[in-house]
């Protein structure tokens, strides 16, 4: 099972064992992929049917009468309360909340991880342990105290308020990600730079950050997903003008005693998930090999 740079010899034909090895790999990945894709198939197929057809209850069958009505409705005219303007209303707000929250929470996570991993700060590990412990508490428990504190400091129902909230709730996992990743990096790099007289920020920016691509991409995946799909925090803390798209999604999907348009629900869910999906697709080029290895030699 060879990697990248192949030695400069003529490629010999694969052995019997290796062929079966390749077949096995693709077979495994293929079967698991089918399992993963099954719900998406049902979701898509349902979204292209009419409600009459959905009521028949044949969830795996292809649409008898293919229609994109549900998609159009989800985006532009589904009722989300008094207004029947679909999902698009909240799209801008979601972006407004997403970008600063992702940037700040990841940067802080990286700095925290770096400081915890390479520097001796008394009590830092205790703080980190408390942070980890706190991440096990369902965040709904935090809502009431946070609302009170925000109200007193005047940031309740504002964009800074919701960004701060996302930073707070993202901090444990972000710090964990970077701290563990950095602890796997060779400490000689750091020591060498210190001997050369470099300070905290210099080492971080010129040595550590460039090596952080693989973990940074995972951090982006996690935070974009969490923040984009967040509903409750946005509802409580963002303020009326900044309500994210998930509030509309919830309104479309989650009625109590009203009728449920499953096709619109499915379309709306897929539409909402397109942004994180795009991030996943684009993240590909950073899942590359050899970021750390170059540094060791150099």
């Amino acid at each position: 099972m060879m990697r990248q740079a192949k030695p400069a010899v003529a490629r010999r034909p694969l052995t019997y064992q290796e062929v079966w090895g390749r077949v096995g790999i693709y077979a495994f990945l293929g079967v698991v992929a089918l399992f993963f894709l099954l719900p998406l198939y049902v979701m898509l197929v349902t979204s292209f049917k009419s409600m009459d057809e959905i009521r028949l209850g044949l969830i795996f069958s292809l649409p008898q009468q293919f229609t994109i009505d549900a998609w159009v409705k989800a985006w532009t005219s589904a009722c989300t309360g008094l207004e029947c303007t679909g999902l698009r209303v909240g799209f801008g707000n979601s972006v407004k909340i997403l970008v600063p929250s992702v940037v700040v929470s990841i940067l802080l996570g990286a700095v925290n991880g770096y400081a915890l991993s390479f520097w001796k700060v008394k009590g830092a590990n205790v703080l980190f342990a408390c942070l980890l412990l706190g991440s096990f508490i369902p965040y709904q428990v935090f809502i009431y105290p946070l609302v009170r504190v925000y109200a007193q400091t005047g940031i309740y129902g504002s964009l800074p308020g919701i960004v701060l909230t996302h930073v707070i709730f993202g901090m444990p996992v972000m710090t964990l990600l970077f701290r563990n990743y950095y602890s796997g990096l060779p400490v000689e790099l750091f020591k060498a730079a210190r001997i050369d007289g470099a300070g905290f920020w210099k080492i971080f920016i010129s040595i550590i950050l460039p090596m952080s691509a693989p973990i940074a991409i995972v951090a982006v995946i996690m935070q974009v997903t969490a923040i984009w799909n967040d509903f409750l925090l946005g509802l409580v803390f963002a303020g009326r003008e900044n309500l994210p798209m998930t509030v509309q999604l919830n309104n479309i999907v989650n009625t109590t005693t009203g009728e449920r348009a499953y096709n619109v629900n499915m379309a709306a869910t897929v539409l909402t998930s397109l942004v994180p999906l795009a991030v996943y697709l684009l993240s590909g080029r950073w899942f590359v090999r050899g970021i750390a290895s170059g540094a060791v030699k150099g």
Binding site: G157, L235, N254, T255, T257
Partner: protein
């Protein structure tokens, strides 16, 4: 000189008139938090919004699907010091604690002006009146325990008229089963199982038992043979529900009736919306039974709006205008027609309501048959415990004795 004076006078009057008009035209902003997000509910609340806007207000909509989410959003806004003008709740004890903390404005002024003491049915008035003052504006009455049936399914089983007693109902269930139709369509979710239990309690035990068990939490009533019979009847319904029932949404259960695959469903009057969506007609395709005894209690539940505390005079004016609009007879009829519920006042023109709603109004107007729904008679957490017992009773092999013991413990708090 006179001409100048005249001109100045005219200009002054014109100016005064202009600014006066401008002042009068400034709309009263009212932000309303609610959970009515489906197509039908949207159309219903639009009636309120349009009427409010026409009367000089400006309706600012803040919809949050999911009653629990909407209510906690409203409460968080109050705590955060940025309350909405109005918020939707149900008739229950939900808002009593908020009133106790002094976080709601009372609307006594509007209530007494409109004679609510006379116009509202007693259980509803009791739900919205706390310490002698009116705090919430009721906007509709939902009856959660209607028994719906599919005409075609009943015909297939050879049932020529809908049941009028519990014995007939149980016999009909057997006939449906023999005909290969699902006798009772149920969504196996906690609240639906509880509706079914409540329907058995009201129809087997009557208004008296309903009030003494859920209202007075009377030990003798809980341990009585009548209540035991209620529990036994409830459990005896299990074989008439199909195996795929757990987790099913209520509208998917209604869909079974629409497809004529099931005979009966116990559901609130909002089920009419589903039938209407599928173009089914009352009488022809489906029907509604209000109860299985001649004096069956009409359980009154409904939606109310509360008004967070504010000293801002404009906001208070907006709140009062909202109340006036929402309880106006003509608006009531229009709103309830779209919502599937019935108006809160008996002095309205019911001719435009559908047959089931008219039947409901008729029964509801008889004070002897009005009973409050369970959540008005006990605290949220007590009601929660009761629901837990019912769902376990339905889903696990609990004995009647065990159930009675647990009911007693839960109701005693």
């Amino acid at each position: 000189m006179t001409a100048m004076k005249q001109m100045v006078a005219v200009s002054a009057i014109a100016l005064a008139a202009a600014t006066g008009i401008a002042r009068a035209e400034e709309p009263l902003n009212a932000e309303v938090i609610h959970w009515w997000t489906s197509g039908g509910e949207s159309a219903a609340i639009a009636v309120f919004a349009d009427a409010f806007n026409a009367a000089g207000g400006k309706w600012v909509d803040n919809a949050v699907a999911g009653g629990s989410a909407a209510r906690s959003a409203a409460i968080n806004r109050i705590i955060g010091g940025d309350p909405s003008t109005a918020a939707l709740f149900n008739t229950s004890r939900q808002y009593h604690e908020i009133i106790g903390e002094g976080l709601l404005n009372d609307i006594d002024a509007v209530a007494s002006k409109n004679d609510w003491d006379k116009v509202l049915p007693e259980p509803i008035a009791n739900a919205v009146k706390v310490d002698g003052k009116y705090y919430a504006a009721p906007v509709n009455i939902h009856m959660p325990l209607w028994i719906w049936y599919s005409t075609a399914a009943l015909n297939k089983a050879g049932i020529d008229k809908p049941p009028e007693t519990m014995e007939q109902f149980l016999a009909d269930l057997d006939k449906l089963k023999a005909a290969g139709v699902i006798p009772l369509a149920l969504g196996g979710q906690r609240w639906q199982e509880n509706s079914l239990f409540s329907a058995v309690l009201t129809n087997v035990g009557g208004a008296g038992l309903w009030k003494s068990v859920y209202g007075d939490k009377d030990e003798a009533a809980i341990r009585s043979p009548e209540f035991r019979k209620v529990i036994e009847t409830f459990v005896s319904l299990k074989p008439y529900v199909d195996a795929a029932s757990p987790g099913r949404n209520w509208n998917d259960a209604t869909a079974l009736l629409i497809k004529d695959e099931a005979g009966f469903q116990v559901m609130g009057d909002w089920a009419k919306g589903e039938f209407k969506q599928a173009s089914k007609e009352i009488g022809k395709d489906y029907g509604c039974i209000p109860g299985l005894r001649p004096d069956s209690p009409y359980v009154l539940g409904g939606d109310v709006f509360v008004f967070p505390k504010t000293d801002n005079a404009e906001q208070v004016k907006a709140q009062h205008l909202l109340v006036e609009i929402m309880t106006d007879p003509a608006v009531q009829v229009k709103f309830n027609n779209l919502k599937g519920s019935i108006p809160i006042r008996s002095d309205v023109d019911v001719s435009s309501l559908d047959a089931c709603a008219q039947l409901g109004m008729k029964i509801m107007s008889d004070p002897a048959r009005q009973v409050p729904d369970a959540s008005q008679m006990m605290e949220e957490y007590v009601y929660g415990s009761v629901q837990d017992i019912v769902t376990e009773l339905w889903n696990t092999p609990m004995t009647v004795d065990q159930a009675v013991d647990r009911f007693e413990k839960a109701l005693k708090g």
